[in-house]
């Protein structure tokens, strides 16, 4: 008996079954098409200009001159009244331009400043503006107010020099769609893991695996075949996706290696979910459980400010960060070595657990 012949027969059978499972074929194809379309419809550049609405009687020109010299990347939009500005920030219908932030100076601001009287400058921000931007805007208002009033800042500030650590991305920020690549790639991997879980659970629940085990096929043959099918499906789908998203750069071998580690990792999860679920809903439950946890690092890559350090403990973190780095400019193995090692370690752990769980399940039938 040829072991490879038996394994090949099981792989072929699994692929036939997969190709006839309308749900997973539909989800696989739909996912690929949807992600590719979404990616290419998303803008490829980042608008780095901060648009700020401003109202100040007689201040517009002075503000334009000040910001042109002091605050690059800020575009001021003048408003005739504080009420109009407030309406624009609130997004009220009929406003000339929607702004998320606004500065309303009191009408007698200049006169009061000249006489040494205090005045209240109102900063209006939309609820969606991040807190760090609000703080920066307040600081900007304070400095501007001093300048308009003709005063120096109450501190003597030395000339500043900003030191950029790492590649300077000023004017070349990573577009949102590029940040979505690891998210899409990992999602595709997870969907294929669910497809494997479905194949495994069907084999167990229909007791077809029992029929295999009274032929010359061994448990090890079944495990090798399922591993190959799961890894192959996930890896090939992820490669197709990233090719369509033009993600392969100079260090494409590192990206391929990352995807392979990710595919093996999710294959382990697919085996666990497939073996643990008592029925379709059970398998779906375990699959969703893994999917929600594993997709968090990909979400964190989309919104870096939201991620806490605990995200690094999630098994998919290394894979996601390596994909992110390799698809957004990093080309050196050294840049991703740490992430690849993390991915390898988790890959071994999860794949090992998956094999063990499925082996025990098969042998217990």
């Amino acid at each position: 008996m040829s072991r490879w012949g038996i394994i090949g027969a099981i792989i072929r059978k699994d692929l036939v079954e997969f190709s006839r499972d309308r749900l997973w074929v539909f989800l696989s194809v739909l996912g690929l098409v949807f992600y590719v379309v979404l990616f290419w419809l998303t803008p490829a550049n980042v608008d780095e200009t901060l648009v700020v609405g401003v109202h100040g009687e007689g201040l517009e020109q002075a503000l334009e001159q000040y910001t042109a010299g002091q605050a690059k990347g800020i575009r001021l939009v003048p408003f005739a009244s504080a009420e109009e500005l407030r309406a624009a920030v609130e997004g009220a219908p009929g406003t000339s331009e929607r702004v998320l932030m606004g500065i309303a100076f009191p009408d007698d601001f200049l006169a009061a400043a000249r006489e040494g009287r205090g005045g209240t400058v109102t900063v209006l921000v939309d609820a969606s503006v991040p807190s760090e931007t609000r703080v920066a805007l307040s600081a900007f208002v304070r400095e501007t107010a001093y300048a308009l009033a003709g005063d120096d800042l109450p501190v003597t500030a030395p000339d500043q020099q900003t030191v950029i650590l790492g590649p300077d991305r000023a004017g070349d920020q990573i577009p949102f769609r590029d940040k979505m690549r690891p998210f899409f790639a990992f999602f595709v991997l997870l969907v294929e893991a669910m497809a494997l879980a479905s194949l495994v659970s069907t084999e167990i629940q229909d007791h077809t695996v029992t029929a295999l085990l009274v032929t010359p096929a061994r448990t090890a043959d079944i495990l090798v075949a399922k591993s190959t099918v799961g890894t192959g499906l996930a890896f090939s789908q992820a490669v197709i996706l990233l090719l369509a998203l033009r993600a392969f750069g100079a260090n494409w071998p590192a990206l391929l290696l990352t995807l392979l580690l990710g595919a093996i990792m999710v294959t382990g999860l697919g085996m666990i979910a497939g073996a643990a679920g008592k029925d379709f809903m059970g398998t779906l439950f375990y699959s969703m459980l893994f999917m929600i946890a594993m997709v968090v690092p990909a979400m964190a890559a989309l919104y870096p400010g939201l991620a806490s350090s605990w995200v690094q403990a999630i098994p998919s973190y290394g894979v996601v960060q390596a994909i992110f780095a390799l698809t957004t400019g990093s080309t050196a193995w050294g840049d991703v070595a740490r992430y690849l090692l993390m991915a390898l370690a988790w890959c071994l752990v999860l794949f090992g657990i998956g094999l063990l769980v499925l082996k025990r399940k098969v042998e217990s039938l």
Partner: protein, 289 residues
């Protein structure tokens, strides 16, 4: 291994699921071309015995030999020589009838396998391209039977092969079983159907609570446990009456001749014991229970 050894040998097999001892020292043999009916109620230990003999379970003690080879020391070699038809319809439902057979042929490394002759034997040739999920229950069972025969096995394990089937499907499967035995395959047949066991089996084994309680030919069991008598219903002036004639009595022949000559004779029945009655007598349990 020797060619003279019976194809199936169970030697004092014991198996326990944790604390529960399911098989308590079962021994029997099945010869080439022989059909052994394996009868017992649910939970009696039939399926566990089959699992041990087909290499799905390792016995706690005792030996399971197929064609002289230990099932557990040479499982792959043994499993290449056996065919198993399970009670549950464990087919690949999204694959076609032919694909199901072709897949199993590849597992047995059969290079020039042609599924069609086998499908013709079980009456499924015209459904070869249909997905298994679209077959009726009887057709699925016939496909299960065909799958068990893919490798032309020397030993067949058939677990309730006609359970719940229509008479036509049952008859088709029984015919295939007879043909396989005629070819020389040893057949271990598990069934609840006493008439089927009686009609197909050269010998039957009654299993109850993990032990074989009787193992013999159906005729011997009937002789040993049944009554040799004839019951007749006669119509006379005083209405219908029953007359029982014991065949071992010296004047049994005269009594029968007289009864047959009587114009009031309505019916004659032999009082031969059924296998089910013998099973109940031996175990106190019905087979279905």
């Amino acid at each position: 291994m020797t060619g003279m050894q019976p194809p199936i040998q169970a030697q004092d097999i014991r198996y326990a699921y944790g604390e529960l001892e399911a098989v308590k020292g079962i021994s029997f043999e099945v010869g080439p071309g022989e059909i052994l009916g394996f009868l017992g109620p649910n939970g009696a230990g039939k399926s566990t015995t089959i699992k041990v003999l087909t290499g799905q379970l390792s016995p706690c003690s005792g030996r399971a030999l197929i064609l002289g080879r230990s099932v557990h020391e040479h499982s792959a070699e043994v499993q290449a020589l056996i065919g198993v038809c399970f009670e549950e319809k464990n087919l690949y439902l999204n694959m076609s009838v032919k694909e199901n057979l072709d897949f199993f042929a590849r597992l047995f490394s059969l290079k020039h396998f042609d599924a069609m002759p086998l499908l013709r034997r079980v009456g499924l040739a015209d459904r070869a391209k249909d997905r298994a999920k679209n077959l009726s229950k009887g057709m699925k069972q016939r496909l299960m039977m065909a799958r068990a025969l893919v490798n032309s096995p020397s030993v067949l394990f058939l677990d309730e092969p006609t359970d719940g089937l229509d008479p036509i499907s049952s008859q088709a499967i029984r015919q295939v079983i007879r043909e396989e035995a005629a070819r020389g395959a040893a057949v271990l047949l598990t069934t609840h159907d006493m008439l089927e066991a009686d009609a197909l089996s050269q010998r039957v084994a009654f299993i109850n609570e993990g032990r074989i309680v009787a193992l013999d030919t159906p005729e011997s069991l009937k002789l040993a446990h049944g009554k040799r008598s004839v019951k007749m219903r006669m119509h006379g002036t005083q209405g219908v009456r029953e007359v029982v004639v014991a065949l071992d009595e010296a004047d049994a022949g005269d009594k029968l001749r007289a009864a047959v000559a009587d114009e009031g004779l309505m019916t004659i029945h032999t009082e031969e014991a059924t296998l089910e009655a013998i099973f109940i007598k031996l175990t106190g349990r019905r087979l279905e229970g």
